[in-house]
Symmetry: C2
Subunit: 118 residues, 2 copies
DNA sequence: CTGATACTAAAGCATATGCTTAACCAATCG
DNA sequence: CGATTGGTTAAGCATATGCTTTAGTATCAG
């Protein structure tokens, strides 16, 4: 029954850390080298690199080495995958609320002594 | 500089596990008792309870004990908080792409010998 | 009452995560 | 050339996570 989705696992896990979200937020404003992503973070450069590799593994960031600096850029598609899952859930419970409303309306039409289905 | 958001931390972390997403997917279709959430999962009931408490801590699920069963229901607001963060990022990089397009257009209007700013 | 059901609480444990420091490599600067 | 900058790798370690089993506590059915 378990709808296995290693993609979503990696994606949400990558977004679950403030340092990694800060990197994504920075990259949403345009490409940047590793050291610029790392500078505002309260940790060593190697630690920041590890966060970056989590983002790359999740497909959220792509990077390319030019000279001795590594330019990083956001990969918008990955983010929309997460959004799609969330939207799917919302559609589902909205559908359910609609059905519930219909049902209550039906009760309202049929019986008139007691409209409470609680 | 780090935009601290323990809410988003908990939220995305809660969604980063297939068992927990399966619970959310089930609850999107309507309320359910703990044991029904746990049944399809390849783990013991206590393990499932721990996942459930992660979902509750993230505000994704609310539960109430009635008699000896605990009824669980999804809490749609939490999900939209995650969605909002994702949307904010998208707006940001779309804005950036727009600015970039404008800039390129400007170059196209001004100079006509060489339109490459690369 | 007795026993089954549904959940809960606690202890223990294997593995994963998130950092650190130290050492290293490659590109650029003086 | 040697020194500096930007990045990378590896080892080590403290803590967190994700389960397990065991042992409960209420609730409800008969």
């Amino acid at each position: 029954m378990l709808n296995q989705s290693p993609d979503l696992d990696r994606l949400f896990h990558a977004l679950a850390d403030p340092a990694r979200r800060a990197m994504v937020e920075r990259l949403s404003r345009g490409p940047a080298p590793v050291s610029e992503l790392a500078r505002p973070l309260p940790m060593s450069l190697p630690a920041a690199m590890q966060h970056l590799s989590v983002l790359e593994a999740a497909g959220l960031v792509r990077s390319e080495k030019v000279g001795r600096i590594r330019q990083c850029a956001i990969q918008p598609r990955a983010l929309s995958q997460a959004e799609q899952w969330i939207n799917a859930q919302r559609r589902e419970w909205e559908r359910r609320l609609d059905r519930l409303a219909d049902y209550l309306k039906t009760l309202d039409n049929e019986g008139d002594g007691d409209g409470r289905g609680d």
